[in-house]
Symmetry: D2
Subunit: 320 residues, 4 copies
Amino acid sequence: MRMAVLTSGGDAPGMNAGLRAVVRAGLDRGFDVVGIRRGYAGIFDDGFEPMDRRSIVNIVQRGGTVLGTSRCPRLRTDAGLAEAVQILRRQRIDAMVLIGGDGTFRGGAALEAAGGPATVGVPGTIDNDVPGSETSLGFDTAVNTAVEAIDRIRDTATSHEVLHFVEVMGRHCGAIALAAAVAGGAEAVLVPEAELSDRTLAARIDAEMRAGKRSVIVVLSEGAREGSAEQVAANVAGVLGLEHRLTVLGHIQRGGSPSAADRILGALFGLEAVDAVAEGARGCYIGQRSGAIVRIPYGELDGPPVGLDQRLVRAAHLIS
Amino acid sequence: MRMAVLTSGGDAPGMNAGLRAVVRAGLDRGFDVVGIRRGYAGIFDDGFEPMDRRSIVNIVQRGGTVLGTSRCPRLRTDAGLAEAVQILRRQRIDAMVLIGGDGTFRGGAALEAAGGPATVGVPGTIDNDVPGSETSLGFDTAVNTAVEAIDRIRDTATSHEVLHFVEVMGRHCGAIALAAAVAGGAEAVLVPEAELSDRTLAARIDAEMRAGKRSVIVVLSEGAREGSAEQVAANVAGVLGLEHRLTVLGHIQRGGSPSAADRILGALFGLEAVDAVAEGARGCYIGQRSGAIVRIPYGELDGPPVGLDQRLVRAAHLIS
Amino acid sequence: MRMAVLTSGGDAPGMNAGLRAVVRAGLDRGFDVVGIRRGYAGIFDDGFEPMDRRSIVNIVQRGGTVLGTSRCPRLRTDAGLAEAVQILRRQRIDAMVLIGGDGTFRGGAALEAAGGPATVGVPGTIDNDVPGSETSLGFDTAVNTAVEAIDRIRDTATSHEVLHFVEVMGRHCGAIALAAAVAGGAEAVLVPEAELSDRTLAARIDAEMRAGKRSVIVVLSEGAREGSAEQVAANVAGVLGLEHRLTVLGHIQRGGSPSAADRILGALFGLEAVDAVAEGARGCYIGQRSGAIVRIPYGELDGPPVGLDQRLVRAAHLIS
Amino acid sequence: MRMAVLTSGGDAPGMNAGLRAVVRAGLDRGFDVVGIRRGYAGIFDDGFEPMDRRSIVNIVQRGGTVLGTSRCPRLRTDAGLAEAVQILRRQRIDAMVLIGGDGTFRGGAALEAAGGPATVGVPGTIDNDVPGSETSLGFDTAVNTAVEAIDRIRDTATSHEVLHFVEVMGRHCGAIALAAAVAGGAEAVLVPEAELSDRTLAARIDAEMRAGKRSVIVVLSEGAREGSAEQVAANVAGVLGLEHRLTVLGHIQRGGSPSAADRILGALFGLEAVDAVAEGARGCYIGQRSGAIVRIPYGELDGPPVGLDQRLVRAAHLIS
């Protein structure tokens, strides 16, 4: 068995831990293991590289992905797909493990449909928006990063009467914002999944302040609203007649040494992916459901979006 | 409804997050909420203190427990129990939320049996050894602390030929050691639940070094063996003819700002505990099973010990 | 001797360490020590509070300031000054220690001029812009915070071809930006003290990329340019035909547990301030010159601005 | 000019930052730059490796040393020295930059005396025990690591009546212990430079507890006493009739991403070392005096030991 592995899409802490597990488990089964550099693009530009135990020494704690990642529009064309399948055949790849998000898995499905090797996905994205899985590599780390930022702002926020806004990642999915708000004890949270007008938000903040809060921190997803976070912040602060400060966490959330949970998840996802490959599985990705590690058919990628954890929605409402 | 809340046993990061959720959710239901300082000892020495929203401002991020904790041998006597029940009646306590470990919950069971108020437990212990629950407040933080220590040692371990031993907490339960070993990429792990002789361990390390490892880190629970960690380390290093260094993490693992996961768990456990109190539940503790928040009867405290997560045992074996 | 102490201006990590040293050293000399809450505003709104050893337990590690701070326009009027002097007399304050920035010290000078008590300043500001002192409380922590952010972005920046911009604090002073750029290995830095056109910056980045850099991070002070950081980033990226991402660190830099260096500085500054008070000094602030702790007369506040450390300017140029 | 660079002795955070500066500044001057792997041992076992800009990409933030280090008893013999000189001639090395401690610099002096190339030292050791220099690479990071550990223990120490002992590095030099004690607010500190009997220490702790302290943390250097830290801890706790807990930080202090200050120091030391090489200097090491970067002749290595910073001794005494 000759098994390739790549990382694709936006990088996420824990991808290296997942990669390490895939390589070690593959070698343990006697597979030939091949890394592909720069994601799908590496198929076209000779990114193939044999992996042994030395290839993955001392990477479990490192952020980003040592294999690299990139966009690959070429794979979205029929010609590109056909060429990729040919190259993968020439490289004698029997199966591929794809570490990335739903877009990465769709690429795998397309490759399979075009006659390519078996593919098995491993969810690696800080956004935690892979359908059917409760979590993905990088989400726990990203939330911890956002919470640390909120803690620091809280230190200073207790001294002044200023509204603080913290923009976190999540164009279509408020998972990071919601989890960070609950963990950080934020006074309010704005997510793409829920409508909340500036006036309503301002009224809510006003109520908190009347109840004695001396500092107010609002967490918002980058995709929570039309318009920039700065506009939202200025509007809400304007309604209340307060000053405001905006922090934009940006790519800080993608980096950093992965949390213990993300590394352990990388190990479990990686081992399961190699088990799946060994058993001849294809057309599926690994995920977590009710705490268990499971295999999910690519078909579920077209199901309903994940949605927010309603327990956290309640927590944010009750104890912010 | 007049609801008391206390923290008891060894303190754990996330206890404050749990406390905050219990108080906020209780106030939201219109309960009178009373904190008891210094654990069960506070029942006897006038530790009762009314809690309002201000009592829990800015505590979600703080390690330890703002209510304090202590040992209370007095509660283990019949006379002590009877006195405690009387005091709790005088204080008109209808229900108590107990944040702590299995010993804390046994105290609650004894109080109920002696005619005391309804009690509901919330697992708060870094050891993750509460029967029936997959996790407890403080475990995720403690593992992250241990992993950070391993990462730092790895930085320097790559330069020298020295065996590094890291002792983590866990007198009867290897959960921290196992999780930290998988997440830290340790070369071996010693836990109370599994026999592993010094010679076998040395042979295993020898094999790793022959396979090219330049640095070796062994994680061991404080309860992994008779005798001190220093003796184990010296023995194993002696067999291999190598130098060794020992790090003892000790109480570092109990402190620190709680991780995002422990704070969120504190919110979910705390909300469920107050739901339980509101519904008239008693004689149970909150836990996590298959990822869901559940209520577990005190009777399960006498069930079989938790045991190691076999998925992690496999991961430690395959990818160390 | 009855000595008051307050914190004023933007808060900074290490203020609590300074406060602790002032209180402990004052008590050790047998002074009555009084804290004033909310900075100068506390003089007017009854912010006086006796300080003993218990007042400062467990604060050395905390961000922000436990005494609080606020703006106080009232002190800038003659009537306000006269009233403040009267209140301070009524409170029998013999001397005041003022922890803050140059504005705070000017307030002290004005109080002295109006017949108020002796005042001694302690530099506490992340901006490191107090004339005559090499450093101030909070600067080291703020630089570490910015560097941590740069490290995280570097993790992910190594995978993609995107320009990263990180905005740090410093409206008039590029000290944080320069230090963070050198420590973070940033490819370029923009500060208020030096002109650098977008075209020149773009040319420089282009040269770096031709020399093989796969990732580019530019650090800029909030006051580096007219216009927003977003505009600068968009312009430079536009010239180069690359994508860009902006991170705005904002108030994250003001918070967080102080670094060891800031806590030690707090101890040394605080002890020296109390020595000065005991010796009857007035009209001066503590500072660091050539590594030594010194007293600097208020007159130097009107001297030339601090300017950038030219050794770091050279380092940024040579080794970015 | 062909310039070699090596790291030697115990590794220290910031060595990579120093290495990066040496390489970049050397290349900037048009030097041939050669790295030697594994310290002096690499001279004998073919550790020479040309360095270009790519050799040092993304290392500024990494702990340890990418060049590696090892012991080299061979260099301490006359035959070994003569052979090393011959090899260095064959490699046409004109000058060497030596990153390490005083032992490393003595090696350089011996090489020069035996007819080897010019050598210039850069202090890199967490112990901060290089004669004549106020600081060295790694010290600031190690102190921050120790302080973080103390902070965590403080979180839990506030809840129980237990003496906590924290052993930090420093066989002959109490610099880390003293700085960590002041920054961590420890109640007492034991260093090799000062006699302090167990009884005196116990009496002091007793006084602190009578004054109201609820938690006591004692920091001790590994070399503070004959006998193990465990013995000291047990003795002192025994006198007081209290329980005790010991944390041994061990090699945790050598690792970790370097602090901003250590990276900046690496830049300044590295640039000055290359300036010295370019100017034909030899027989000296770089250091910091009164905050300035200076060159110190090897002769000062035989001067009096560094001694503790008396300002910190006073601070530890007054405000612990």
